[in-house]
Each structure stands twice: as C-alpha cells, then as structure tokens.
C-alpha cells in the first residue's frame, strides 16, 4: 500500500526547478494565510489550493506517465494545465496573500522585475484581448498539429516546453479574464463586455478541433501507437475520449467564466452608485461651519 502511494507520488520525470517553484508558491501562500488570519481568505484558499495541487499532480506524479502514453489522459492533463488549474488560481486572486507570505527580498524582486518597462510592455502585449485569444487557441492548435505533437511526445525537451507553455499561457489568459478589478483600473483591465467576447471567441475553435479529433475515422496522432500505450485500449477509443475532453469541458469553461464576469460586472455597477450619492451630502459638511 505505502509502496503504491510512493510510486504514484514519485515524479515520472522529475523537474527540480518546477518542484521548487510549486513549493515556493505553496509556502508563501500558507504563510500569507497564517499572517493575515482572515475568514474571507478561506474560500479563495480552497480554490488556490485545488488549482496549484492539480497542476502539480498532472506534471510531477505518476499521472504524467499516463499522460505521456495515453492520448485521452494527455488531453485531460492539458485541460488541467491550461484551463482548470490556472482558472482556479486566477479566481482566488492570490496576489495579496502571496505577497503577505513571501519574504521581503522576493516581493522586492518581483516588484522590481514587474515594473521594468520592457516587462510591462510585454505583459500588456500578451494581455491584449486579440493577442491573448490568439495565444490561447493558437497554442492548443500548435501542439495538436500532428507532426508537432509527434516530436513533442518523443523529445524530452519539447515535451516540457509544451506543458510549461500551456501552464504559463493558461495563467496569463485566466488572470486577464477573471481580473476582479473595475474595468479601466489598469491598462490590462478591459471591460466586461470585451472579455466576454474573447471568452466566446475562443470557444468555437476549441469545439471544432475537439469534434474533428473525436469524430475522425482514422488515427490522427500515431505517436501513441509508436510509443506504445500505458495499457491495451483501442486506439480509436483513446482518440475519441481525447477529442471529447478537448471539445466539451474546455468550451464549458468559457461559459462558467462568463457567469463569473457578469457577477463581477454587477458588483462594479453596485459599487459605482453610492459614492456619487454620498458626494452630494458629503460636500457641504466639509465646508467651514463658521
């Protein structure tokens, strides 16, 4: 039993840097929670925890082995890396808690790098609505191009490049989409309407690709036959399952995000009215009485 647990927890291809980054994020977050001691941190903490742990599990446990040798598990891995995990992390708005828990040098470093003009310009560029949508869908199509997918599964370097690019792009995209601040707060906080358009724009291409894979009569990705599968399963069933995972849950995420954005929109709307009303009564009292 313990052997079995150890086998499942052992990374199939250990990536020390990746493990360090996850450990640092988890540590800073836990410390931040302990320092702040706020009840309202609990719900976001659950979202952050599930997001972070799920991303770690699909990359650095035995799940990664199955993801390398079964197409449908590979698709599920990317669903977590590119959609679900980053979605939950972005939804938890972890910046304040992370900053509260991070050592001072790390906060200074992140702020230092984050405010460098080229970094800010790059960030603004990738968070531009059109670029962000293109990157989000483009990466899925890029890595699922059969010839590119073939090499990515055979070359250790490309495999990690693929998974990391999906994780990073997922974080960027959902960070941009689920930004809870009022539109216009920063240069990358776009209006709710525009963000909903982007969310719906990325849906049809994902549905089309997923349906194409799920309904293809022949093998689209022969690399799984070339490398062997983790257990004997019909290649076409493997492919159909993978196609369905690309097709349905991925597109559903856009719908869920839309609902969340609409809620943010209502909150901003509600918050906008009181200050105007207050001002009318507040201004006269500020004037000298005598």
């Amino acid at each position: 039993m313990t052997d079995e647990i150890i086998r499942w927890l052992t990374p199939w291809e250990p990536q020390p840097v990746l493990i360090a980054v996850f450990a640092l994020a988890a540590l800073c977050y836990a410390r931040g929670l302990a320092r702040r001691r706020r009840i309202r941190d609990i719900a976001p903490a659950i979202a952050f925890g599930i997001g972070l742990i799920s991303m770690y599990v699909v990359m650095q446990t035995h799940v990664d082995y199955y993801a390398q040798y079964m197409f449908f598990i590979h698709r599920a891995q990317h669903l977590i890396l590119h959609h679900l995990g980053p979605f939950l992390i972005a939804l938890s708005m972890p910046t304040a808690v992370l900053a509260a828990g991070a050592p001072a040098w790390l906060n200074r470093g992140v702020r230092g790098i984050g405010t460098l003009p080229p970094v800010m310009a790059c960030y603004r560029f990738v968070q531009h609505p059109v670029i962000s949508a293109l990157l989000f869908v483009g990466l899925i199509y890029f890595w699922l191009t059969p010839s590119i997918h073939f090499t990515a599964m055979l070359s250790a370097r490309d495999y990690w490049l693929m998974n990391l690019s999906m994780a990073v792009d997922g974080l960027l995209f959902w960070w941009f989409m689920l930004d809870p601040r009022a539109p216009g707060t920063t240069r990358t906080t776009y209006s709710t309407g525009l963000r909903i358009i982007v969310l719906w724009a990325v849906m049809p291409p994902q549905i089309a690709l997923g349906a194409y894979i799920a309904l293809a009569p022949d093998t689209v990705y022969d690399v799984y036959a070339v490398c062997g599968r983790a257990f004997p399963i019909s290649p076409i069933v493997d492919q159909q399952l993978g196609g369905l995972i690309t097709w349905i849950p991925a597109a559903m995420m856009s719908v869920v995000a839309t609902l969340i954005l609409l809620r943010f929109g209502f909150i901003h709307e509600r918050n906008r009215t009181p200050p105007a009303a207050e001002r009318k009564t507040a201004i006269p009292t500020k004037e000298p009485v005598t």
Binding site: Y69, C122, F125, F150, L154, G228, A230, F231, P232, I233
Partner: protein
Amino acid sequence: MTLYKIHSALWLALVLGLGTALSACSGGADYAAHDITGVMPDLEFNLTNEKGEAVTADDYDGRLKLLFFGYTNCPDICPATMARIRAALGGLDADTRDNIDVLFLSVDPERDTPERLQRFTSSFGEGVTGLTGTQEQLKALSKRYRVTYGYGEPNENGFYLVSHSSAIFVFGPDDRARLLINQQQGVDEITADLKTLLGQLD
C-alpha cells in the same frame, strides 16, 4: 505606440520562430521515416540475449541496428513488422545486410524465455537477435526512448495482450539514434530509407 509596434513584431517573430524551429525537427526531407537524429539519446542497455547471455549495446557496436519492441505471443503487429523488416532488408545487397543487426526486444519476459525467443526470431531469417531482460532493465530502456508497454488482463487460458511500441528504431554503427520507422511505411520505403542512411554514413 512605436514601442508597442516593436514589441508586437518581437512577439510575432518569437511565435513564428518557435513554430519553424519545432517543425524543422519533425521530419527530414530525405526520409519517409522520422529523422530522430539529436532528438533521442544514443543506444544504451543491459539485457539478456536469446542464448541467455548478458549483453550491452557495446556488443553491437560498429553495426547498423534496427530495434523493435514486441512479444512473441503478439497476434498481429510483431510478426507483420518482423516480416516487413525481412522483406526490406532483402532489397539490400548481401554485404550490407551482413552489417545490420535486427534486435527484437521482448517486453514480456514472463512468457518469452530465451528458447521461445530463439524459435520466434529464427523464422525471420539471419541477423535477427531476440533480447529481453528484467522489468527494471526493460523499463530503463523503454523510458530512454520514451516508449512504454503494459499488460492486459489474462483470459481463462492465461493468455494476455501486451501493449507496446509499434515503431522500429534505427541506430547508426556509432549507436546514435537515427530513424523512427512507423507502421504506415511500406517495405520499399524502408529499404530506400536504409539506403539513404547508409549512404550518409559512408
């Protein structure tokens, strides 16, 4: 705005560059097979041959090697692939053929004893060697080439299926990984690829 434009151009270049760099690795123009030169590591293993002797990759040094992962109870792919290899090698002249080793690696050591392996390989002509090893040895080698295998549930007669790689890996005399031949490739294409590769090595 100019800064913005410069950055747009930079990013576009990066994305396109990544695209071309990756697609460049994914298929040499000269081969029907996938060119895996530089993508996969050199051949290295500790296994047992069909005579029951311990062997390493060094024992096959200086010769071109075709490596296939399979099992002797395999109902379709393995015998068919071995027959294709035999036919493809038939298209080469005898001298060249003598310098090529075909390594049939069984990933089912439970059933594939050295005797059984020998019986299987002898039906596919000269130059075919059966290899197998412990689970640890097999896992080390398959992980090295990013392939895997797995066992199905046994039926009432104890027969079980084994999932395995369907590709033929070609290694140069210097043990460098060179080509990956998949199931779709015809006999003539394999012969042509081997000729091209041998021509490049000379």
